[in-house]
C-alpha cells in the first residue's frame, strides 16, 4: 500500500514511517502544509495520515482540497484535538477515520488497514490470512472452511492481530483497543492473557497454525514464524 504521512513532529513522523515500512508498502512523508498540498495534488495514495495542526496551514484545508477534486484517497485524521466538533467536522468533510493523539502505532495500523480494506472492497468482504478467512461483514471467521465461533472481543482481537501481523503489539495497546477508556481502572493487564489464550485455543482446535506468540511479557506477536 502507498501511504502519505503528513505530520510536522519529526519524532512521530519517523516512528510511523518505520512502523509501516515493510515489503510492499511505500511511505511518503510531508512535514508542512505546502509540502503536503504539493504531494496530494501530484500523487494518489491508498491512505493519507493527516495531522490537523500543521506549520503553514490547517490539515482540514488539505482534506477539503482532496474532496473537491474527488480523489478517492483514504484519509485518517490524526489530531491532538479530542473534541467532538473537530471529529464531526473531519468526518463530515469526508475523512474516513479520526484518531486522537497520543495513540499506539498498532492502533493506527489497525485503523489504516480498515480504511484500505474498505477502499479496495472489490466486491469481496473476506479478509484472508493463510488458512484463516475473516468475513468482515458477518464478523465471523472460518479456518480451513470450518466456522469458528468467536466472541465479539476475540474477533476484534484477531482482526487487530492480522492488521499488525509481524509486529509486537503491547498489552496496553490491546487492552485499550478492546476496552477503550474503561481500561484505566485496572492496574495490570494480565487478564487479557486469558482472552488471548482462549482465542489461540479456538484457532488451534480448528486446525489453525499457531500464529500468536507472547514476547517477553510485554506483548504479543502475530506471525507466521
Amino acid at each position: 500500500m502507498k501511504l502519505l504521512i503528513v505530520e510536522d513532529e519529526k519524532g512521530l513522523r519517523e516512528s510511523i514511517e518505520e512502523y509501516f515500512a515493510e515489503a510492499g508498502n511505500i511511505c511518503e512523508t510531508a512535514s508542512s502544509f505546502a509540502e503536503a498540498l504539493a504531494k496530494v495534488s501530484l500523487y494518489r495514495y491508498d491512505c493519507i495520515l493527516l495531522d490537523i495542526t500543521l506549520p503553514g496551514g490547517n490539515g482540514i484545508d488539505i482534506l477539503k482540497t482532496i474532496k473537491q477534486k474527488e480523489y478517492n484517497d483514504g484519509i485518517l485524521i490524526i489530531s491532538a484535538k479530542n473534541s467532538l466538533d473537530d471529529r464531526l467536522e473531519g468526518l463530515d468533510l469526508g475523512a474516513d477515520d479520526y484518531l486522537v493523539k497520543p495513540f499506539h502505532l498498532s492502533e493506527l495500523r489497525a485503523r489504516v488497514s480498515a480504511i484500505i480494506r474498505r477502499k479496495s472492497f472489490n466486491g469481496s468482504n473476506i479478509l484472508l490470512f493463510n488458512e484463516i478467512a475473516i468475513d468482515l461483514l458477518a464478523k465471523s471467521i472460518k479456518v480451513k472452511d470450518q466456522a469458528v465461533k468467536l466472541t465479539r472481543k476475540e474477533y476484534a482481537l484477531l482482526l487487530y492481530f492480522v492488521a499488525n501481523k509481524g509486529k509486537v503489539v503491547s498489552k496496553n495497546a490491546i487492552a485499550e483497543h478492546l476496552w477503550g477508556d474503561g481500561i484505566d481502572m485496572v492496574n495490570n493487564f494480565d487478564f487479557i492473557y486469558s482472552h488471548i489464550k482462549n482465542l489461540r485455543k479456538k484457532l488451534l482446535e480448528a486446525g489453525c497454525n499457531d500464529y500468536i506468540h507472547a514476547t517477553y511479557g510485554m506483548g504479543y506477536k502475530f506471525t507466521e514464524q
Binding site: 513532529e9 519524532g11 512521530l12 516512528s15 510511523i16 518505520e18 512502523y19 491532538a80 479530542n82 473534541s83 467532538l84 493523539k101 497520543p102 495513540f103 499506539h104 502505532l105 498498532s106 472481543k153 509486529k167 509486537v168 503491547s170 498489552k171 496496553n172 495497546a173 485499550e176 476496552w179 477503550g180 477508556d181 474503561g182 481500561i183 484505566d184 481502572m185 485496572v186 492496574n187 494480565d190 487478564f191 487479557i192 486469558s194 482472552h195 514476547t215 517477553y216 511479557g217 510485554m218 506483548g219
Partner: protein, 425 residues
C-alpha cells in the same frame, strides 16, 4: 446589626435627647414667664393694699377668694423683708365642691411677703395666689409637646424604615447577584438600576472586579488547556517510540520489565492529560448537544464491556435496572458512567461487590472497598485520592462537573461498609 437598626438607634437616641433637652428649656422658660406674670399680679395687689391703707388708714377687709389669699399679721417694726416665695395655697373648697365635709386642700401657690404700717402698727402682709392654673397650663403644654415628640419619633421610625429599604434596594439586588455569582458563567453580573452615585460606583467596582476575576480564571483555564495540549505531542512521540522500540526485540527480562513500567507510566500520563483537557472542556461548557438516550441500555452495554474486568477482580456485580429515558449529552453521560464504574472497580477489593440500581429519579452505584468513610467534601476534589490509587485523581472531579453541567446531583455516602454514589436526575 442591621444598618437600619443601627441608623434608627442613633437617630432615635439623638432625637430623644434633643427633644428632652428642648422640652426642659421650654418648660423652664414658660414657667419663668408665668411666674413673672403672677409676681406682677402680686405686686399689683400689694400696691392696691398700700393705696387702701394710705387713703383709709385701715387694713383692707379680706375676702376669701378662689385663687387669692391675703393675711395680715402684726409684726415688730422693720422685721419684715419684702420677698417673693413659692408656697402652698390653702384652698377651702365650698360645700358642694368638698362633698361631705369641709376639707382643706393644699395647692401650689406663689406668695409675696410685704409689710405695711397702719398708724403706728406694723403689719406683715402675705399675699398668696394659687398657681394651679399655671400648672395646668404647663401640664397641657408638656402633654402636647410629649405627644408631638412621640409622633415625630414614630414618623421618623417609619420613614427611615421605608426610605432606607427603598434606598438600599439596589444594594440588595446587587448582593443577590453576587451570591449567585458563578466564575464559569460567561454572563457578566447584571447591574441593578439606580440613580444614586454611591451605588453606581459600587456597581461599577463589582462589575470591574468580576470581569477581572473572570478574565484571570479564563487565562488560567486557557493555560491548563494549552499546557495539556502542548504535552500531547511529546507524549505521542514517547508512545510511538516505545511501540517502535518494542519491534526491535531481543530484550532481557530486566529490559522488558523496564519497558512495561514505561508503558504504564506513559499511559497514566496520557489519561491524566486527557482528563485535564476534558475537565477544562466541561468547565468551559464546550461539550454541547443532547439526544434521547435509554439509560438502562447504556448501563447494560457498559456492564458487558467491563465484564472481563469484573471477572478479573472476581467482583460480584448486582444490576437492577428500571426504565429511564434521559434527554442529555450522550458523550458526557458515557464519560460519567465510565468514571463511576472505574471508581467502583478500582477501589474495590478482590471478590468485592458492586450494586448498580437504576430507578426513576436516581442512579445508585455502591461498592465495597476500604471500610472507612471518605470525607464527603474531599471526595470530589481534584487530585484527592488514596496513596495506593493508580487513577488520575480527576475521575470523580470530572463526574461531579459533568453532573453539574447536565443538571444532575451527585452525592457520596457511606453505609454498612458500602461506598455509595447517587446521581439524582
Amino acid at each position: 446589626m442591621k444598618l437600619l437598626s443601627k441608623y434608627n438607634r442613633v437617630t432615635l437616641v439623638t432625637t430623644i435627647v434633643v427633644m428632652l433637652f428642648t422640652g426642659i428649656i421650654y418648660y423652664v422658660a414658660i414657667k419663668l414667664i408665668l411666674v413673672e406674670d403672677i409676681d406682677k399680679d402680686l405686686a399689683v395687689e400689694e400696691h392696691e393694699i398700700f393705696e387702701y391703707v394710705r387713703i383709709n388708714h385701715v387694713l383692707p377687709q379680706v375676702f376669701e377668694s378662689e385663687d387669692q389669699q391675703i393675711h395680715f399679721e402684726e409684726a415688730a417694726p422693720g422685721s419684715v423683708k419684702r420677698d417673693y416665695l413659692d408656697t402652698l395655697f390653702r384652698n377651702f373648697p365650698s360645700e358642694h365642691h368638698g362633698r361631705h365635709h369641709r376639707h382643706e386642700v393644699f395647692e401650689s401657690g406663689r406668695g409675696l411677703i410685704s409689710s405695711v404700717a397702719v398708724g403706728n402698727k406694723y403689719y406683715r402682709v402675705l399675699i398668696v395666689k394659687s398657681t394651679v392654673e399655671t400648672e395646668d397650663l404647663l401640664t397641657i403644654i408638656f402633654g402636647i409637646t410629649a405627644g408631638v415628640i412621640l409622633l415625630l419619633l414614630l414618623v421618623l421610625f417609619m420613614t427611615n424604615r421605608l426610605l432606607l429599604n427603598r434606598l438600599w434596594q439596589p444594594f440588595h439586588n446587587l448582593l443577590k447577584e453576587l451570591r449567585s455569582f458563578n466564575l464559569s458563567d460567561p454572563n457578566a453580573i447584571p447591574q441593578p438600576e439606580t440613580n444614586i452615585d454611591e451605588f453606581k460606583e459600587l456597581n461599577q467596582a463589582v462589575s470591574a472586579m468580576s470581569s477581572r476575576v473572570k478574565n484571570d480564571y479564563k487565562d488560567l483555564k486557557t493555560f491548563t488547556e494549552n499546557a495539556s495540549h502542548e504535552l500531547l505531542t511529546p507524549i505521542a512521540v514517547i508512545n510511538s517510540k516505545l511501540d517502535t522500540l518494542l519491534q526491535t526485540e531481543h530484550f532481557s527480562d530486566q529490559q522488558s520489565k523496564l519497558l512495561n513500567d514505561l508503558y504504564s507510566a506513559v499511559s497514566r500520563l496520557t489519561r491524566l492529560n486527557q482528563s485535564l483537557l476534558l475537565l477544562v472542556k466541561i468547565e468551559n461548557r464546550l461539550l454541547e448537544g443532547h439526544k434521547n438516550i435509554n439509560l438502562a441500555t447504556v448501563i447494560d452495554d457498559l456492564v458487558i464491556q467491563f465484564e472481563e474486568i469484573f471477572n478479573d477482580k472476581q467482583l460480584n456485580v448486582n444490576v437492577e435496572l428500571g426504565e429511564k429515558e434521559l434527554d442529555t449529552n450522550p458523550y458526557l453521560t458515557d464519560v460519567l458512567l465510565n468514571n463511576l464504574f472505574s471508581n467502583a472497580i478500582r477501589h474495590n477489593y478482590q471478590g468485592g461487590k458492586i450494586n448498580i440500581k437504576l430507578r426513576a429519579n436516581q442512579l445508585v452505584i455502591e461498592n465495597t472497598g476500604d471500610d472507612i468513610a471518605l470525607k464527603p467534601e474531599q471526595v470530589f476534589k481534584r487530585f484527592s485520592k488514596s496513596s495506593s490509587s493508580e487513577g488520575s485523581g480527576l475521575g470523580l472531579t470530572i463526574s461531579k462537573e459533568i453532573c453539574e453541567n447536565l443538571g444532575f446531583e451527585l452525592l457520596y455516602t457511606f453505609k454498612n461498609g458500602l461506598h455509595i454514589f447517587t446521581i439524582s436526575f
